[in-house]
């Protein structure tokens, strides 16, 4: 368990650095939300505790990198990671489809919420928000939610297989 958590931590650190420091892909100043993809994948592949804890910690890291209000991404990621793991299999079976739906759903929901505040408080234009923030985020994150899901699954398999080997020895 400790080894697996350590591996996930390293993986999340890498995702955070790609998102906040390296930023290899940027369109209109928006880059894919790699950490959110990882949070959802961990929540689904492990359980709600993993999703919630990693979402909270690395959401805070993302908040620290910059953003509107410190803590907003942490709350968002924590709830999404938690719900991704906690929701019953009867509602949505665990797997890639659930990862993509949760990741994209979270991006749309939380950005629409922010858009609502921006429109009310700053009289921002919804079309501009849609074209320059929401759509790029949704479209850019989509392929990475699939890639990161498989990456996290690989780590999980690797860790579980090692544990099984040790147990057999």
């Amino acid at each position: 368990m400790v080894k697996k958590s350590f591996l996930y931590t390293l993986c999340f650190l890498l995702l955070f650095l790609i998102e906040a420091v390296f930023r290899p892909i940027t369109v209109f100043g928006v880059s894919p939300l790699y950490v959110l993809c990882g949070t959802v994948a961990v929540g689904i592949l492990e359980n709600e505790k993993f999703g919630g804890i990693f979402g909270l910690i690395f959401g805070l890291f993302c908040d620290f990198a910059g953003g509107s209000v410190f803590g907003s991404q942490a709350i968002c990621f924590m709830f999404v990671g938690f719900l991704a793991g906690a929701i019953s299999d009867a509602v949505l079976s665990k797997g890639l489809a659930r990862t993509v739906i949760f990741t994209e759903g979270a991006i749309i929901f939380f950005n629409l919420l922010k858009a609502l505040f921006a429109i009310i408080l700053d009289e921002s234009d919804f079309i501009q928000i849609l074209l320059y923030i929401l759509l790029p985020k949704v479209l850019l994150t989509l392929p990475f939610s699939i890639l990161i899901y498989y990456f996290i699954r690989l780590i999980r398999h690797f860790s579980d297989r090692n544990r099984e080997r040790k147990r057999l020895w």
């Binding site: 906040a20 805070l60 620290f64 990198a65």
Partner: protein, 280 residues
């Protein structure tokens, strides 16, 4: 489903969310302190600094190899430019002496002359897509305070928003929340730069409230006016890219291309001794 809502972990999540929301509310309403932010800053700073160093190192290595021909041509062009600049420098020396004499006569001093600057490295960039903010690797230990002015070698960058011991968050002047008093250098027209979501996405910003009769044209330089006292006068903001009449027909607006390339911003300088009128 009942078990799900009654689980200890779910209750813990709700409590943490309430704490965070409370801190957020406190920050928004009172500008209060967030202790967990300082802790997160201290923890994540070494990773972001390391990541930035790796990124810059790898970037420089590949750039120096893949752009060899390009660099040679650039070197030649720069050598020519240096030659021209040397000539202009010789001429400007006479003008500088004249300017100093006139300054003494009129008792006016340049506000940017005596800025005490702290060099810092950009370590991470805002990930939410809504704001133009980034973190730097220097903080209160280096003398940086909130609202300190941040500049780069080419021009204005923005203002310090939050400070921790070894980090600070900077809001770029292209952010939709920021407005800067500006002046068109050639025509002396006063105006104000503002960020919009659309222009921020394109790496540009807007120069609003220009006089309808302003003769500013494309290519004119825009610099800080010093009005409002938040920014020292005379810092280059950018170049006018486009100019139009506002919908109200009473004023003009221009689109500015910032002098600073925010997509490749590595090193910034924080002015730690400029006391803005607001903070005074």
């Amino acid at each position: 489903m009942n078990n799900f809502f009654r689980s200890r972990f779910f209750i813990a999540i709700i409590i943490i969310a309430c704490f965070l929301a409370g801190f957020m509310l406190n920050l928004v309403v009172d500008g209060g302190v967030m202790p967990h932010r300082t802790i997160i800053g201290i923890i994540s700073s070494p990773f972001t600094t390391l990541g930035t160093n790796i990124k810059n190192g790898v970037g420089d290595f590949f750039a120096s190899h893949s752009k060899y021909e390009e660099l040679l041509a650039e070197k030649e062009a720069l050598e020519k430019e240096i030659h021209d600049l040397k000539k202009r420098l010789e001429n400007s020396y006479t003008l500088e002496v004249e300017l100093e004499r006139l300054r003494q006569l009129s008792n006016v001093t340049s506000k940017t002359e005596n800025l005490e600057l702290v060099e810092a490295q950009v370590v991470s960039v805002s990930t939410d897509g809504w704001t133009s903010t980034f973190s730097i690797n220097k903080g209160s230990l280096a003398g940086i305070k909130e609202k300190d002015v941040v500049i780069a070698s080419t021009g204005l960058v923005g203002k310090v928003r939050d400070v921790g011991p070894n980090w600070a968050t900077v809001v770029a002047f292209t952010d939709p929340q920021i407005a800067v008093g500006a002046i068109v250098t050639r025509t002396n027209d006063a105006a104000m730069t503002e960020g919009t979501i659309e222009l921020k996405a394109k790496g540009l910003c807007r120069l609003s409230y220009l006089n309808k009769n302003s003769s500013a044209i494309r290519g004119d330089l825009v610099q800080t006016s010093g009005l409002g006292g938040l920014y020292p006068a005379g810092i280059l903001i950018g170049t006018i890219k486009d100019i139009n009449i506002d919908d109200n027909g009473l004023t003009k607006y221009a689109v500015i291309e910032p002098a600073v390339d925010f997509t490749d911003l590595r090193k910034v300088y924080v002015s730690i001794n400029y006391a803005s009128e607001e903070s005074e």
